[in-house]
Amino acid sequence: MLTNEEVAQTIINQFGEAVGDFDDPYDLLTFSTSREQIIPLISYLKDHKTLQFGFLTDITAVHYPDSPGREFCVVYHLHSLINNFRLRIKVYLSKEDIHIPTAVPLFAGANWMERETFDLFGVIFDGHPDLRRILNMEEMDYHPMRREYPLEDATREDKIDALFGR
């Protein structure tokens, strides 16, 4: 059984200053790294002899409109099926420069995940073979999951709960 401490130590020994913010919310090992290190890091975890993080669970993003300089956070979830161990890696980006290298060379499954993240958040994955929208219509000119749109008019009466049996 791997423990969070062991895995964290292994990663720190390899990457030192390039990783930080170690935490374990709900016992899920979470840490952040930089845009430059994310691909070497995932590659290292994937090919590591004992860790063997061979499964990319998810790539998504979070928008923090109120934190200047780190408005976007790209989140990677990795799973080691061999050890039944999961971890979460975060990379913070600024809204002026939402670029991050693609993980498609490492995991083919990253293709659609990155397209989805681009579609909903506008994160640009450099080197992605086919960075198009995947969920929304091609003509859409905004990224709907960003927290920059006004909330619904609370005085609307055309779709009140009573009309839907709620």
Binding site: L135, N136, M137, P144, E152, D158, K159, F164, G165
Partner: protein
Amino acid sequence: MATDIKMAEAPASYDGPGFSATSFDKIIGLARANSLWPLPFATSCCGIEFMSTMASHYDLARFGSERPSFSPRQADMLLVAGTIAKKMAPVVKQVYLQMAEPRWVVAIGACATSGGIFDTYSVLQGIDRIIPVDVYVPGCPPRPEQILDGVMQIQELAKNESLRRRNTEEYQKLLNSYNIQ
């Protein structure tokens, strides 16, 4: 011999020995109304409800809709049941365009009529934004009886429609407002 078969009511006519004279509109309307071939465009929960409507218990076939057509060919009645995402909208419109006149459209359920509870960026807020709709069936989801009622409303429309209605300027205007033709 079953004697309780319900016959469609004959239109008002002038009858004599060996002949019956009535208006062409009424005869054609009668034929159309009792052989509305549905094209079910079912995307979600309302689609399940619609399957129930077509199945033996509610038996949509009683209304002459014996042949659900999953292609626009020979279909008279487009039944849109379920949420239509904006990405799906061009498909619905294409299916409508490929149907031949006369054609009727039923929007089944809250989503098809108004986007329903999905008041969001990805969902078309009612199919009447892209194609003209004849009958709206409310409900989330509507019961099969409601869908049958909607079909019967279409029958009434088909029965009472003038043969030239689809050549009228009004109808052309309606289609033009949807950028059709």
